[in-house]
């Protein structure tokens, strides 16, 4: 079974998540061994996924948690029944 680049791109996301079934995954792996474009697309996409997951990308504003729990404390004191 052979696969072209456009076909590989359709599976990049599922491939990264380990959701491609074994036969197709092996086919993609063989393609990646010889296709530097698809390898670079895969590596860059995986790199982007890792970077956006880092907690430093979206940091809570300073004092966010304190303000949230102070407001909750007031609400809890009111009863909320």
């Amino acid at each position: 079974m052979r696969i072209d680049c456009r076909h590989v791109w359709q599976y990049i996301s599922a491939y990264i998540d380990g959701e491609v079934e074994a036969v197709l995954r092996a086919t993609i792996d063989r393609h990646l061994e010889t296709c530097e474009i698809c390898s670079a697309v895969l590596d860059s996409t995986r790199n982007v996924v890792v970077l956006v997951a880092d907690d430093r990308v979206f940091e809570l504003p300073a004092g966010f948690s304190s303000r949230l729990h102070e407001r909750l404390e007031r609400e809890l004191a009111l009863g909320g029944d």
Binding site: R6, W9, Q10, I12, S13, A14, I16, E19, E36, I37, S39, A40, V41, D43, S44, T45, N47, V48, V49, V50, L51, V52, A53, D54, D55, R56, V57, F58, E59, L60, P61, F64, S65, R67, L68, H69, R71, L72, E73, E75, L76, G80
Partner: protein, 230 residues
């Protein structure tokens, strides 16, 4: 960053859902409903970051997202007795956060989340990735540079809403597909399609902008006497 778990009374850490965590949450909720209201702080704490990031993605303003996050937490508390446990607690909390965000968008008359999303879904669009012949990895340490975090936030902000929500839940908050689909009220299949498209859009926009943050070539790649191998 660490999101290790602790008992709920000391604030039990991260959002990772396990059967033990689910049981801890169920016990915590029972006690809160029985009158130990102070335990609500510990119950909501592991979800507060996810609530904020999701609302920031929807509303685009830090101040608005913070206010909406506070309203969400209060609504969760006031409606706690309605949580039946047929979904995970965090899924339920983020559904409330999403409704809070949608309500605010409707109030300001934004078409976001409604027709624009439907159009984006129908039209398909071009989701081909950026063509590259090589990729030098950008290490996570590069995030010490605020500029890189800013570029990543900008890329996520530029995504159409339906794709941004999926990236926030799956890639930023690292929720399971089933859980994320439940928050958004879509099928897991639709979620996968959106996630694939979102990642392709991010890769295409980010690839040329991330080059300057790549790790320097290792000294081992030095080529003879003639300088650095490219």
């Amino acid at each position: 960053m660490g999101r290790a778990g602790k008992s709920f009374e000391e604030g039990y850490g991260g959002p990772v859902t396990t059967p033990a965590r689910t049981e801890q949450e169920a016990e915590c909720i029972r006690r809160i409903l029985a009158g130990e209201k102070h335990l609500f702080h510990a119950l909501i704490r592991p979800s507060e970051r996810a609530i904020y990031v999701m609302l920031l993605g929807m509303l685009g303003s830090e101040a608005e997202a913070e206010d909406a996050a506070q309203e969400t937490a209060i609504k969760v508390f006031l409606n706690l007795k309605n949580f039946r446990g047929d979904s995970q607690f965090r899924t339920w909390v983020l559904s409330i956060a999403r409704n809070e965000g949608l309500g605010r968008l409707r109030k300001i008359g934004s078409r976001k989340e409604d027709s624009l999303d439907a159009e984006a879904e129908d039209q398909g669009g071009d989701f081909t990735p950026a063509f590259l012949t090589s990729w030098r990895e950008v290490p996570a340490e590069a995030l010490e540079r605020k500029e890189l975090a800013g570029i990543l936030r900008e890329a996520i902000a530029k995504l159409p809403d339906i794709y941004r929500n999926v990236v926030i839940l799956r890639d930023i908050e690292e929720m399971e597909g089933k859980e994320a689909a439940a928050v958004l009220g879509i099928t897991e299949g639709a979620l996968k399609v959106r996630l694939h498209r979102a990642r392709a859009l991010l890769q295409r926009w980010l690839a040329p902008r991330l080059e300057g943050f790549a790790a320097r070539p290792a000294a081992a790649k030095r080529k003879g006497f003639f300088g650095w191998k490219r």
